[in-house]
Assembly symmetry: C2
Homo-oligomer: 152 residues x 2
Amino acid sequence: MIKPSQLLEHWQGHRSLTRRVIEAFPEDAFFNYSIGGMRTFADMVMELLGIAAPGTKEIATGKTVQLIEKINHNNQKAKILELWDKSTYDINTYWAQIKPEQFQDSIKSFGQFEGTVWSAIFYFIDNEIHHRGQAYVYLRALNIEPPFFYER
Amino acid sequence: MIKPSQLLEHWQGHRSLTRRVIEAFPEDAFFNYSIGGMRTFADMVMELLGIAAPGTKEIATGKTVQLIEKINHNNQKAKILELWDKSTYDINTYWAQIKPEQFQDSIKSFGQFEGTVWSAIFYFIDNEIHHRGQAYVYLRALNIEPPFFYER
C-alpha cells in the first residue's frame, strides 16, 4: 500500500517542516521558552535528533544503540540545524540499507521499546509531529506565525 | 511493508488517545480555552470529525464529500464524544470497503486536495497528531496532566 521510498519521502517532508519551525524560533526562545512547565523546543528537538538517525541506524544494522537526548549545542540554533542536516543525510544512508521484507520484523528500539520495524518508524514520525505541534503553540504564544502545516 | 489492517489499527489507536485527551479537558476549557489566538480544542476536534469518517467514506465510495468543520454540539463534550464514537464505527465500516490496490490511486480529497489514497489517509492521521499535540500544551497550561503519548 505504500513503498519504503514513499515513507522515507513522507518522513523527510515532515523533517523539512520541523527544520523550518526551528528556524522560526528566536534563538533565545528556542532554548528558554516554554508553557505549563513543559520542555523547551530545544529539549524536544534534542530528543528528535536522538531518535531519528540513531533509530534508523539501529534498524539498518541490527546493532542496539543508546538513546541520547542531550547534545552539546552551546545555546546555538546553528549547531542544532547542522546536526539536523547531518541526520537528514544519515537517515537517507541507513534507509537504503533496510530491506523491504524487514518492515514486519520485530525489534526492540534502543534496546527497550518493543514493536515492529514499521511501527518503530511510525513512532519516530508521530513523535516528531506531536512535539512540533506543541512548538506551534509556543510560536503563536510568542506572536510568531509558524510555517503552514501542509507545506513539506 | 505495512498492511491496510495495521494502518487502520494504528489510526484507531491514535483516535483512542485523542478521545482520552478530549475527556481530560474540563467542559468549559474544551469549548473556550486557547493560547496565542489559536482555535479552541473543540474547534480543532470538529475539524478532525469533519475529516476522518467523511474522508474515509469518500475514498471507499469514490463520491466527493464536502468538508464540514462545524457541528451542532450545544457546548456539550458528551455530544462530541458521541460523534467521535460514531466516526470510529464509520471509519471501520468504510475502511473494509477500500481495496488494497487502491492505496496508490490518485484522489482529490474533499474535491480539492490532490494526492494518493495513502497520502490522504496519512494526512488525516498526521493532522490529528498535530492538533492533539497542541491540546497537550493547553492541558499543561491548565495544570492538567495529559494521557501518555505512547499509550494507544
